[in-house]
Symmetry: C2
Subunit: 237 residues, 2 copies
DNA sequence: GAGACTCGTATTTTCGAAAATACTATCCGT
DNA sequence: ACGGATAGTATTTTCGAAAATACGAGTCTC
């Protein structure tokens, strides 16, 4: 059931949040992060209105929220557009991520309890399961994306700072957008499964220095690959 | 002139931004940071509508932006309120600030050029001038607030990362709100002038380790004083 | 009397029309 | 032909009414 719904009448308008604005924010974020709405794309209200079925002001609220997250660029009196990409921005996001993530993994390793260990292990397990299904193009699989995000989220979730977790989440989204940007041009994914496994083991065995080193390499290598395979998209403008 | 304007007709509606929404965002931010709107205060649209002279949707846009900055708490379907304060939040903001600010001061010292040095020296100079006027209650003087903000901004401005500067700015606002919270209960200000002077000298002489240590102490001491003198306001809820 | 329900009120949330602003093509003078 | 003003169009921004939702007082049942 649910498969044959007449939709427009029954299908709930709000899937991800209680308010339509929150829902639109969520859906827009996904489309921007996945580059379904490409960087620099103008976000005209007529078009959005049709695509998302919401009114001017509701869309405006969603765009304002995403502008604060750095995914949308608000040009006063001249509308919104998807935040452009650049080498400089990629470097900034990468550096900031390393700074924050290193701090968080240290704290999580220091403070994590049994539940944390279980979350790390189980999210990694699910990630590996999904990877076995389609080892070639993990980024195209929405389930892999979610599982990947949840594994990294679980790793740092025990850090004890909602503030830093919020900052981390924003940077993660911005970085994921760059990964999607280069996904189509990358010849074959490297051995991410092995890297994740190693990070998990370092974390669970409370080897903070090793975990920090692995995470740093993980982030920087990914960014290097983006620069390598999507470089032509970063200089465009 | 400007003193005798009939205002409602001539006075520009948009002071700080080109759009009314951006203007309201700015004004609301100031009122929240200065605790003119106290922590936890419900933000009802009727009241805001009267106070700021804007419509529902414009206010909503401003509140959404401030929610993303952590100054406003959005409770879906139940409106907005000024973000509450707590010991936990104070600790989180302080720790995050130290982490970011330390990184930025290192980078700025490494990369800062002549213009940077001039900006640091001149913003400190102005700050000291203003302090001489009213050495007792600097936080009550809006000009001191601005000058203080600009000095700290100048210190890190040469870091080279707009992303990290944006994060820093948000944390600075959240910290400043706590300072205002305790300002009324603090017996007398400590020797901030001397601290700022020392930080400036360490920065200009490119002594990164010393600057980092001074900044860290500066931030943590301030936070400790907030906890000491406004503690009764942090446990309330 | 305590808990659950209903209805009326207060408040938030959403909408599309109307105003304000930016963009584009055309016209005019040099 | 070229630069600059101008009118017309496209787009964003703002508004207040209308719909949706939450809150609270009073009522009913057990």
């Amino acid at each position: 059931m649910g498969r044959t719904m007449p939709d427009s009448a029954i299908r709930p308008r709000k899937e991800f949040g209680k308010t339509i604005a929150a829902d639109i924010t969520h859906r827009l974020r996904e489309e921007i992060v996945s580059c379904s709405l490409p960087p620099g794309e103008p976000l005209r209200f007529d078009v959005l209105r049709e695509r998302f079925g919401a009114s001017f002001t509701t869309l405006r609220e969603a765009l304002t929220a995403l502008a604060a997250e750095g995914l949308v660029d608000a040009q006063e009196q001249r509308g919104f557009r998807v935040a452009p990409v650049s080498r400089q921005d990629l470097v900034e996001v990468t550096d900031a991520r390393v700074l924050i993530e290193v701090e968080l993994i240290r704290r999580a390793i220091e403070r994590g309890d049994d539940d944390w260990e279980i979350a790390v292990i189980s999210t990694l397990h699910r990630l590996k399961r999904i990877e076995q299904r389609d080892p070639e193009h993990p980024l195209r699989d929405p389930e892999w994306k979610i599982a990947h995000r949840q594994f990294h989220q679980a790793l740092v979730s025990a850090c004890g700072s909602a503030t830093l977790l919020g900052i981390r989440a924003e940077l993660f989204d911005r970085a994921e957008r760059y990964r999607h940007l280069s996904a189509n041009f990358r010849p074959r994914p490297r051995d991410k499964a092995g890297e994740h496994q190693a990070i998990m083991q370092a974390a669970i065995s409370r080897n903070a220095d090793l975990a920090v080193q692995l995470i740093t390499t993980h982030i920087r290598t990914t960014a290097d690959n983006v620069a390598k395979y999507a470089g032509h998209l970063l200089d465009a403008e």
